[in-house]
Symmetry: C2
C-alpha cells in the first residue's frame, strides 16, 4: 500500500458534535471488505443546504441527484459512500440514486428531495442499490452526535489520512460551530476534483445565504488547488446549516453584518481542508504555493498560476529539488495571458532568481538549491503589468503519483 | 543515462543530399564536452523560407530573431545549437543572436536577415556568443552535401535517438526531395514544444507558398502532439526551399495543381517527425493515438482529444496497462466542450468499452486488459453530437518521465 503522506497530521483535529446533526458509519461492502464505506448524517428539521459541484459534462448520478435536490434548499440527510463513484453508470446509476434516496427518506421520515447523496471511487461500474438499501435502517438506528473522525475516514479512497477542520465563531455574542470533512487525493483541480467536502454549522442560515457563502468560499479554496489538473465527475461541496445554535436570530441576508466573522471562519475551514487535500495529493512530497502578482486582473493571475501549478515538467523538477526557474518562465509563457518577458521577476521563497527578463545578477545556485530541499515551496511570479494577484496550491509530481495511478483499479 | 526509447528505429532513415544545401557539424563546447552541439546549414542564393514558432509569451532570443528575419522570406544559412536555449537571457540573449548572425553572414557573405538561428537546452543561462563566433568559420569551410544524420544527432537534448524523415515526390514529371530533421523529448504540446524541426526541399517555392504550406502542415502534425502539455520558449519549425530541382518552374501560387502531391509528401514528413517526437517523449513506453469523432466541430474534437492526451491520471493508467476508461469519461467531462454523457461511446483499439452513457454490456475486462499491454494504444471517443473529428498523439506518463525531469539540470 501507499506510504502515508509526510504531511499527515499527528492526529485528527477535534470536531465537536454539531447541534441538530447525528452521524452513523457502516460497512456496505461496496468494494472493500472489513472497511467502513458508508456514512449517514441525519439533520434536524429546518436544516438548510447550499452546494457546488463539478463542472464536468459527464457528472455522476449522485451529482445529478444533488443538483436537483438543492432547489428545495432543505436537507434532512446526507448519504455518502466510497468504493464506487456511481458515475457513467447510465440508467442503472439513476435508479441507484432514486432507490438510495427513497430508502433514506423512508427511514428518516422525510421527502426524497431532502436527501443528499455523494459517491466516490471507481467510475463506470454499477453501484448496487441493494447494498445501500441493506444498511440504511441500521445506520439510522445507530445515528448519534459526533463521529466526525470515523466519517472522514470512511469517505477516503486513495487518501492516506482523514481530513477535518473546525472553527467556532461568535455571531452576535453567541458561539456557533463550523465543522468540515473532505476527501481528495487525485483528479484534483479547479472546479474541484474527486473531491468531496461536507461542512455543517449550527448557524441559522437561510438556504440562499448558505448557497452564496459556500460558492464564494469554494472559489478561494477548493477551486484554487490542483494535484494533476484533472477534474472528476463527482466533485461535491455541501454546506448544511442546522440553525440549532442558541439565541441566534435567523440570517437571511448575505449583507448581514453578523456574518463577517462567520465568513472568515468558513473560509478558514474550506482553505484548511483544501490544503489538506493538496498535501495528501497522490505521491505528494512537497506542498507548493504559487502566487502570481502584477497581472492585468485576478482572473489572469489565477490562469498563470494554474499554468505553473499544472505543469508536469515544473512539478517533476520540484520533486527533484531542482530550482528550475526556466520552467517557470516556460509556464508563464504558455499560459496565454498577457505577459512581458522583460518585466518578469521570479522568486523561490524569498530568493529572487530572475528579474527584468533574465537571471538575477545575484543568483546563487547553491542558495536556491538548498531552499528547494524544503517540503514547502513558495513560488512567486511578478508579471509587472497590473495589480491582479492570486495564489493557488499544488504538490510536486513524483514517481509515486505514477505508480499509484497505474495500479488504482487493480 | 536514460535508456533508449523502445520505439527508436534500428537506423536513421536515408536522407539524400538536397541540391542547393550544404551542412557542417561541430563542437562549440556550449554545455557538453566531446559532443557535437552546433550545426551550420548553408543554402544557395535564391532559397526561400517559411516558418512557425512557439506561441509562448516568453520566447527565446532565437525565436525573436527568426520572426524578424522571416519577413524577408530569403535564407542563406541556418545555425542551430543544443545545450543552451538562449531563452530568458534578456539583453545578453539578444546580443548573442546579433553577434551569431553577424558572424555567419560574414563567413557566408550575405545579409544578417538571411540567417536563421535556433537554440535548445537550458533556459535562463546566458549563451556565450564567443563560443559560436569561434566555430563559425571552421564550420563554413567544412560545409558539404549530406550530413543529415549527424545534424539530427547534434541538435538532440534529452532525445534518445535522432529523428529524420525524407520523401521524394513528382512535380510535373520531375522528382523533388523533401528532407526533415527534428528534436523533441519534453515540453511537447500543441503549438509545439522544446521542438525544433528543419525541413528542406529543392522544390522552387515562393516564400509565401513556403510559409502557407508549413503553417498548414504543422497544424496537422506538430500541433497535434503532446508529451506533457508544456510548451517551450523555443519551438521552431522552418521550411527552406532551395529551388534547385531541375526543370521545375517556380511555384508562386498555393492553388497551383502541381502542389498536390508535394503537400501530401510534406504532410507525411511533418507527421512522421511529429510521431517520432512523441515516441521519444521523456520516459515514454507507449505511443497513444486519441481520436475524437462526433464532436460539434473539428476544433471541439481537438480540444476534447487534448483533454485526454494531457490528463496525467489517464496517462499514468496507460503506463500501468490499466484499461481505465473511467478516466476517459473524466477527461471528456472536464474538456469544457459540448458533450452528452448519455451519447458517449469509447473504444480501446477495436474494443468498445462504453456506450450510451454506461459500460458496454459486452465489456470484457480480460480482453481490454490484454489490449492495454500493447505498446501502441488507440483510444477513440464518439461524442455522438456532430461531424467534427480529429486525432492527436501522445505517450504514457511513466516514472521515468518524473526521474528525467527531476534531474535534467544537474
Amino acid at each position: 500500500m501507499t506510504a502515508i503522506s509526510p504531511f499527515a497530521p499527528a492526529s485528527f483535529p477535534d470536531l465537536p458534535p454539531v447541534d441538530g446533526m447525528r452521524i452513523a458509519i457502516g460497512q456496505a461492502g461496496i468494494k472493500y471488505r472489513d472497511r467502513n464505506d458508508v456514512v449517514l448524517a441525519v439533520f434536524d428539521e429546518g436544516t438548510t443546504v447550499g452546494g457546488t459541484f463539478t463542472l464536468s459534462k459527464c457528472p455522476s448520478a449522485a451529482v445529478d441527484w444533488c443538483r436537483s435536490a438543492l432547489g428545495g434548499g432543505r436537507a434532512r440527510a446526507l448519504l455518502v459512500n466510497s468504493g464506487n463513484a456511481n458515475a457513467f453508470t447510465g440508467q442503472k446509476g439513476k435508479e441507484t440514486t432514486t432507490r438510495s434516496a427513497a430508502a433514506v427518506s423512508r427511514t428518516v421520515g422525510c421527502e426524497t428531495g431532502e436527501i443528499f447523496l455523494a459517491s466516490t471511487g471507481v467510475i463506470g461500474e454499477p453501484l448496487d442499490a441493494g447494498k445501500i438499501e441493506g444498511v440504511v435502517d441500521g445506520l439510522h438506528s445507530r445515528c448519534a452526535p459526533g463521529g466526525w473522525a470515523q466519517a472522514a475516514r470512511a469517505i477516503m479512497t486513495t487518501d492516506t489520512y482523514p481530513k477535518g477542520s473546525s472553527r467556532t465563531v461568535r455571531i452576535g455574542g453567541e458561539s456557533v460551530l463550523i465543522n468540515g470533512i473532505a476527501k481528495g487525493a487525485g483528479m484534483i483541480a479547479p472546479n474541484m476534483a474527486t473531491m468531496l467536502a461536507f461542512i455543517v454549522t449550527d448557524a441559522p442560515l437561510s438556504a440562499s445565504v448558505a448557497r452564496s457563502l459556500i460558492g464564494k468560499s469554494v472559489d478561494r479554496s477548493f477551486n484554487a488547488i490542483t494535484v494533476d489538473g484533472d477534474t472528476s465527475t463527482s466533485d461535491t461541496v455541501l454546506l448544511f446549516a442546522t440553525g440549532r445554535a442558541k439565541n441566534v436570530a435567523p440570517i437571511t441576508d448575505l449583507g448581514d453584518p453578523r456574518l463577517r466573522g462567520f465568513k472568515r471562519a468558513l473560509d478558514e475551514v474550506t482553505l484548511d481542508l483544501a490544503h489538506q487535500i493538496v498535501r495528501d495529493g497522490e505521491g505528494a512530497r512537497k506542498f507548493v504555493s504559487v502566487t502570481v502578482r502584477g497581472a492585468v486582473s485576478r482572473r489572469s493571475a489565477r490562469k498563470v498560476a494554474f499554468s505553473l501549478a499544472n505543469s508536469m515538467i515544473l512539478k517533476a523538477a520540484i520533486a527533484g529539488d531542482d530550482a528550475n526557474w526556466g520552467r517557470v518562465v516556460m509556464a508563464v509563457g504558455k499560459a496565454g495571458e498577457p505577459a512581458d518577458r522583460d518585466r518578469l521577476a521570479i522568486w523561490f521563497g524569498d530568493i529572487r532568481v530572475a528579474v527584468g527578463g533574465e537571471r538575477d545578477p545575484a543568483y546563487s545556485e547553491d542558495l536556491t538549491s538548498a531552499y528547494m530541499k524544503n517540503d514547502r515551496i513558495a513560488i512567486t511570479v511578478d508579471l509587472g503589468l497590473g495589480r491582479g494577484t492570486d495564489t493557488v496550491w499544488t504538490c510536486d509530481l513524483t514517481k509515486e503519483y505514477v505508480a499509484i495511478n497505474g495500479d488504482y483499479r487493480s
